[in-house]
Structure formats: structure tokens, C-alpha cells
Amino acid sequence: MDSDKFKQQIIPLQSAMQLLADRMLGDVAEAEDVVQDIFVTLWNQRSDLDKVLNLQAYCLQTVRLRCIDIIRKRKRDAFHHEQIAYLSDKEVEMEVEETASHAALLDRLLDDLPEKQRQAIKMKYIEERDTQYIEQALQMSSNNVYTTLSRALQSLKEKIKTIKI
């Protein structure tokens, strides 16, 4: 499996892998590290990946086992006693699909907003930028940014009420 094929077939599985790791570990940063390590491992084993029939199941199981190892280590350290949030492949897949559909819905809702409001919402709630950054990026005053964001949120909430998933 060359790098193009790897990118095409394995990298899109990152969302599900990240979600599963997030849920199992409860730590986004740690989940990112786990997923990245697993990708390095998968890259090193890419010659064997052609034999794998279900790549998504294989990758998710790898994440699951790695997370279980981490959780067991935590338990040995006696700092964490939480239950393992075990998700099946189907649950992970459903959650990934839900996330994707929600993100797509938001895209549609944002598309109906004016340009300034859409950019302000993206920067504030998706990119999680601070107000000063938005002021500089949109060349708006602080008050204008607050006003724009407030109006955009109100518009979105109204539109969401009309949408039934």
C-alpha cells in the first residue's frame, strides 16, 4: 500500500478512531496521541493492510486495544478508577455519522447567514478564536463583534427549530 492509497483509505478513518479514543480515554489530547501512534504503526504495517478485509474495524479495534492498555496502566497507577467507556464499532460509526450530519447541518444553516455573521460564528464557536482576533480579522469593533455574534446565534436557533432531523 503506497502513501496515496494509505491517505485515501486509512486517513479518513481518523474521525472514528479519534472519537473512539476520546470516548474511551476522556482526554482529547491523549486520544490524539494514541491515534497518531496508531497511524505510525499502521504505516509501518501498510504492506499487511492489503490483506485486511475491513479496514475500519481493524483500525477501531487497534484503537480500542491501545486505549484499554492505557486505561489498565492508569488503574495500575491507582489514579483512575473510571469505567471503560466501551463503544462497539457500530456505535462509533453511528456517532461519527451523527457528527458528520450535524456538521453538515450547521454548514447549511451558516450558508443562510450573512457573510460577517457566518465568519464571526465560525471563528467564535468552531475555531474558538478570541474576540480580539475576530475584531482584527473582520476589522470590526468589539461591540460590533458582540452584536454580530448575538444576531447570528439568534438566527441559527430560529432556523434549527424549523429543522427536524
Partner: protein, 236 residues
């Protein structure tokens, strides 16, 4: 499912998606780097293999060269040993030459038994060696060229008595003759039982009788080219 989505859920999903896109991009870059590193490693390995190949080739060539040189040295050594053998073969030749040169001083070895006439009792045995002067023996004469000639010696038919001078005085110079003189009244016979002429090559001995009818030997030293290079003689 008729559920109105929470706006925060939508934002959360959008954030997750954006984060996933960012992470996937990072992973894609990481894969590119890994692929590049692998290519570098592969090329490095290939270069290393190539270098290793040339290293081995160099070592093999060096070993081959050393082997050839060693064989040459050994062959030279064997040549030198063969030369030594040749020298060893030649040395006896030289020694023989030396011996021949020594034997150029031809000598007459004779054994004389002194006994009473008509008896086998030997009173005394005298072994004498007469050196024959040599003149300019050829240096390249070999041992094989040395000739030892044993020949019968012509002796006077009459038994020689213990020699008396014409004045009737007995000689007392010779110790052997002293022994003879001890029984002066009894006749004794001295008999030369063997005479050996030892001379080098080119020595052509011939037996002559001198005026006293005493056998003597004349030697003509002849070089390998046939040239007469010296004349010697010996008599008794």
C-alpha cells in the same frame, strides 16, 4: 427520530469535524514525511549496500592481490629453495671440486705386510700414503671424476731380506726395520698387499718402472679440455 438538535451540538460536531480535518492533514503530512524518510533510508541502505559491495569487492580484490603476491613470494621462495637445492646439488660439486682440487694432490696408499718367507705370519703391517704433487688441477673437476685405481704391484721375485748395506751394516733409521732388525738373522719378506692410487680427474695414471725396477706412478693431469696442465710422479 424527531429531535431538534442543540445548537451547541452542532457547533461541537463542526469543531470535531474541523479538528478531524486538521488532524487528518497533519497525519497526511506525517505519512509524507515517513514515506520520504523511508525513501531516504532505502536509498541510504542501497548506497550502504553499494558501498558495502564495493567494500567487499575491494577486500576481495585485496585478498586476491595478496594471494597472488603471496603465491609469487612462495613461488620465489620455492624457486629460491630450488635454487638452494641446486646450490646444495652444486655444493657437493664444488666440494667435490674442492676435493678434486685436494685430490689434485694425488696420493698413493699402499699397505705393506712384513712376514717371513713361506709363512703366513705377518710380522708387521705398514700403511703408507705418498702424496703426489699436483700442478694446476682443473677447478671444475667433480667427485665422479676422481679415480681410484688399484693395481697389482710388481715386486721383486726374491724375498727381500732385512736390508743390509753393502758394508754389512744394518739400517736402524726405520722403526719398522728396527723390528725387522730385531730378528736380523731371520729373513723376512715385505709384501705390498695393495696399492691404491687416488687422484683427481684428468689424472691419467700409468705405471712405470724406474731404473731400479721399482714401480712408480706417473701422473699426467689433464684438464677437461684435454690440455695437459701438470705432471707428477711418485715412487717407492
Amino acid at each position: 427520530m424527531n429531535d431538534t438538535p442543540d445548537i451547541n451540538k452542532l457547533f461541537e460536531a463542526a469543531r470535531r469535524r474541523e479538528a478531524d480535518i486538521r488532524r487528518q492533514q497533519q497525519l497526511s503530512d506525517m505519512i509524507d514525511r515517513l514515506a520520504k524518510n523511508e525513501q531516504k533510508t532505502e536509498s541510504g541502505k542501497r548506497k550502504a549496500k553499494g558501498g558495502l559491495f564495493w567494500t567487499y569487492a575491494g577486500i576481495a580484490a585485496s585478498v586476491l592481490l595478496l594471494s597472488i603476491v603471496g603465491l609469487r613470494i612462495l613461488s620465489q621462495g620455492s624457486t629460491s629453495s630450488s635454487q638452494q637445492q641446486l646450490i646444495a646439488k652444486t655444493k657437493p660439486h664444488v666440494e667435490s671440486e674442492e676435493k678434486s682440487a685436494e685430490s689434485g694432490e694425488q696420493r698413493m696408499e699402499s699397505v705393506v705386510q712384513v712376514r717371513r718367507p713361506n709363512t703366513s705370519a705377518v710380522l708387521a703391517i705398514s700403511e703408507t700414503t705418498a702424496e703426489v704433487p699436483s700442478h694446476g688441477m682443473q677447478q671444475n673437476e667433480s667427485e665422479e671424476d676422481k679415480t681410484i685405481i688399484e693395481m697389482p704391484v710388481v715386486l721383486p721375485d726374491e724375498p727381500l731380506l732385512a736390508e743390509e748395506t753393502q758394508n754389512g751394516e744394518q739400517r736402524t733409521e726405520d722403526k719398522d726395520q728396527d723390528m725387522y732388525q730385531h730378528e736380523s738373522n731371520s729373513p723376512v719378506v715385505y709384501e705390498r698387499t695393495s696399492t691404491r692410487l687416488v687422484c683427481g680427474s684428468g689424472c691419467r695414471p700409468e705405471v712405470r718402472h724406474n731404473q731400479e725396477d721399482t714401480p712408480s706412478f706417473a701422473f699426467t693431469n689433464i684438464s677437461s679440455t684435454g690440455t695437459t696442465i701438470g705432471i707428477g710422479s711418485s715412487g717407492f
